[in-house]
Symmetry: none
Subunit: 237 residues, 4 copies
C-alpha cells in the first residue's frame, strides 16, 4: 500500500515492482556496467574486512566505491547479497588454491607438508572474510551452508589423500580416513583461524612444523629416516 521504499512488511499489493529485481538478476548489459559492478564488489570486500559485517553500512560501501547510494542497488539486492557474493568468491579462491598440483617425486611427509602449506597460503589472504563468514553464518543459513561446504570439501580432499597414502603403504591402514581427516582438518582450520583471523602471533615455520608432525604421526607415516609403518620396529637402528 505504501508506495515508498520504507514500509517493509505488510505490503498489500506488490513489493519492489519486480522490475528492479529483474534488471539486477539480468546483470549489467554494458562493459561499463560490469566494471562498476566489480568496483562496488571490491569496495564492499574492503569495507567488510575493515569493519566486519554488522558494522558495515551500505553507505560505507558506496562511499568507498565513490558512487551514489542508489547505484549500489542497481547491482545488488541488499547488503546481505553483496556479502554472499564476496563470500562465494573467497570460497572459490580457497578451493582453487587447495587443488594445486602435487609436487612430483615428493615423499609422503613432504606431501603432507606441501598440502598444509597450500592450505595456509590459501587461507591467509582470505582470513578476514572467512572469519566474517563464520560470524554471519550464525544468523544466516546460507552462509552456514557455504562454510560447511568449504569444510566438507577440505575434509574430503584430506581423506582422499589419507586413503592414497594407505594404498601406497605409507600410512597406517587402520586409521579411519574420514574421521581422522575430520579432526585433522579441524586442527588446521582452527589454527589458521586463530593465527590469521584472531591475530595471534605465530612463527610460520613452527606452525608448519607442528601441523606437519601431528598430521604425519596421526596417520602413521614413518618418521623421517624410518621405514614405512607396518614394518619391524627397527626404524632407528
Amino acid at each position: 500500500m505504501s508506495p515508498r521504499g520504507g514500509s517493509p512488511m505488510g505490503r498489500v499489493v506488490s513489493g519492489p515492482s519486480a522490475t528492479q529485481r529483474e534488471r539486477r538478476d539480468a546483470g549489467p548489459a554494458t562493459t561499463k556496467g560490469r566494471q562498476r559492478r566489480t568496483e562496488i564488489l571490491a569496495a564492499a570486500r574492503r569495507v567488510f574486512e575493515e569493519r566486519g559485517f554488522v558494522e558495515t553500512r551500505v553507505a560505507d560501501i558506496v562511499a568507498a566505491a565513490q558512487v551514489a547510494q542508489g547505484t549500489f542497488y542497481t547491482y545488488f539486492d541488499s547488503k546481505d547479497a553483496v556479502f554472499a557474493e564476496v563470500a562465494q568468491s573467497v570460497i572459490d579462491d580457497m578451493l582453487a588454491g587447495l587443488h594445486a598440483p602435487r609436487r612430483p617425486g615428493a615423499g609422503p611427509r613432504q606431501r603432507v607438508r606441501d598440502g598444509l602449506q597450500r592450505f595456509i597460503d590459501a587461507f591467509r589472504p582470505n582470513a578476514v572474510i572467512i572469519g566474517l563468514i563464520e560470524q554471519v553464518g550464525t544468523f544466516t543459513p546460507e552462509m552456514r551452508r557455504l562454510r560447511l561446504a568449504l569444510r566438507e570439501s577440505f575434509v574430503a580432499m584430506s581423506a582422499r589423500g589419507i586413503v592414497r597414502m594407505q594404498t601406497e603403504g605409507h600410512a597406517d591402514p587402520d586409521v579411519d580416513p574420514l574421521m581422522t581427516a575430520e579432526v585433522l582438518g579441524a586442527m588446521v582450520d582452527q589454527t589458521c583461524y586463530v593465527w590469521f583471523s584472531l591475530g595471534k602471533e605465530f612463527d610460520a615455520t613452527e606452525v608448519l612444523d607442528s601441523l606437519s608432525l601431528v598430521w604425519s604421526r596421526a596417520i602413521g607415516l614413518p618418521e623421517d629416516g624410518e621405514t614405512p609403518a607396518g614394518e619391524p620396529g627397527d626404524a632407528a637402528t
Copy 2:
C-alpha cells in the same frame, strides 16, 4: 561495543540519572533483588541461545523474565553487559570442568582420553554460548579477550600435561609442548564447535577415538600394548 547505531538517549547526550546508575553500581540490596537479577540473567541466556546475540532484543529478555522493560536496567548496564556476564559464567563453568581431578592409576593414553572427555563434556552444554562469544568477539574486543583467555587457559593446561608426560618418560621429549598443545587444542576446540555448535552429526565414540589417537600419537605416546617411548625400541634416545 553495541553494533546498533542509535545513540539511544532522549536528549542528545546525557547518560542515566544519578540514582539509576548508583543502584546499578551498588548491586541488589535485598535478597529479592538478587533473585530478580539471577532470573533476568537466566532468561537472557535462554534467549541468547535461542536467537543469537544480534537477533536478541532486550524486549525479548524482559518478556522471558516476566519483568518490565525498565527493570532490566535496574540490574544491568546494557545488552552487551548481560551478554558479557553470561559469557563469563560459561567460561568459568568450562574452566571448572576442565580442572577436574585426574583419575589415579590411569596410563598416559587413558589420561589423554579422560582429558578429552572432560573437554567435550564441558563444551557440550555451553556450545551455543561459546559460538556466540565467537560471533560477538568479531565486534567486541572484550569478548575477543575472553575467548582467547579460554583458549590460552586450555592450551597452557594441555602443555603442562605434555610436559608432565615428557618428564615421566611417556611422551616424546622432542616435541615442543606449547606449539603442539596449541595445534592439538585447536583440533579439539574446532571439532567440538563443528559438532555441537554447527550441529554436524558425529558419533561420540568415533570422535573420542580419533581425537585420542591423534593426540597420543602426536606427542609420541606408545601405542597400546607397546612399551613407552624411550624404552626398549628406544627410537628417540
Copy 3:
C-alpha cells in the same frame, strides 16, 4: 540478518522480534497510554484529511501529535494500520448515524426525506475520510471491503425501508426493492461524494428536494396530496 530496521525484505531470521508487535496487539496498559493512543489517532485523522493518504507521512502525524517518531510505533503497526483504524471509526460513526430512530407519525414522503437527511448529516463530517477510503480502496483489499460493507449496509437498510412501504401499501409493490435500493443508494452516495468530497457547491435544500423527489417517485409513492399508488388516478382532483 541485518539487525537494523531498514532491510525490509530478505530478512533471514526473524522480523520485528514479535515482542514489539505483541505489545502493540496488547494495547496500552495504562490510562495515559490509552490517552496517547487516542491523541495520535486524532492527529492522524487530521493529517489524513489535510493531505490525503499518499501524501501523509508518519512524520506529519507525529509532528501533529507532538510525540517522537518512535512513539507512533508504540501504538500502531504502520501508516496503513492507523488509516485502517481511522477508516473503521468513520464507518462506525456513519452506520450509527444512519440507524437513528424514525420520526413517529411521519408520512412516507417525509420518512424518505428524513432518511436522506440522516444520510447527508452522517456523510458530511466524514466526507474527506470517505473519499480517502475510496482512494485507498484502489490499492488495498481491506479498504475495499470496508467501503463495500458500508454500501451494502446502507443498501440493505434502504431495501428494508422500501419493503416496509410496499407492505404498508404506500410504495409500488412491483419495484424490485433490492435493485432499486442499489441504484438509489448509488445516487445518494455519489451525490454526497460530489458535494462534500469533491467540493461542488450545491444548495442543501435543492439537493434534498431532488433526492427526495427522485426516491419517492422511483418507488411509486403518491405525490403529496395524492392517494397511494395502485388506486385510481384521481390523486389531484
Copy 4:
C-alpha cells in the same frame, strides 16, 4: 503532481537538458517516432489498468513497451504526464460514445433507456481508468478538473435531454432539469463504478431496468401504456 517525495534530479536542482526538453516539446518528428509514442502510451494504459497509478513504476511501463528507461522521457514529461494523456483519451472516448445519434421514432422511455445503455457501453471498457482518475484526482488538481469536466458534460447533456422532453410534453415540467440531471447522473455514474470498477456482480438487464425506471419516473414520464404526463389525469397542471 507526483506524490513521490524524491526530488529526482542528480544535482540539487537543474531540470532536463535543453535538447531533451526541446525534443519533447516538439513532438515526434518521424513516423517511426509517432509509432513509438503510441506504443508507450498503450503500454502505459495496460500497466496502469493492471497495477493502478501509485503502484505503477515507469520501469514497468518501459518494460511493457520494450524500450529503454530513457526512451520514455523522449516522449513524455513524467509519469504524471502519461497518465494525464491516458486519462484524456479515455474521457474523449466516453464523450464520443455518449453523443451517439438518437434512435429515430423511439418513445421517451425508450430514449431514456437508450441513453443509459450508451453510457454503460461507454463506461464499461474504460472503467478501470476511470477508477484511477478518481484515485489520482485525490492528489492532482488537474485530474480532479478532468473528472469534474466529464461529470459536467454528462450532466449537461442529461439536463438538455430533460428539457427537451419537458418541451415535448413528455416530462413533468416542474422538475428542475439541472438538479435532477445532477442526482440522476450521480446514480448512473456510481452504479457503473460499483459494477465495473469495484466488481460487484450485477445482472445487466436488471440494472438497465432499474436505472431506466427510476430515471423515467423521476422526470415524470408516463408509465408504459399510460398517457403522457400533463394529459388526462393531469396532476401537475
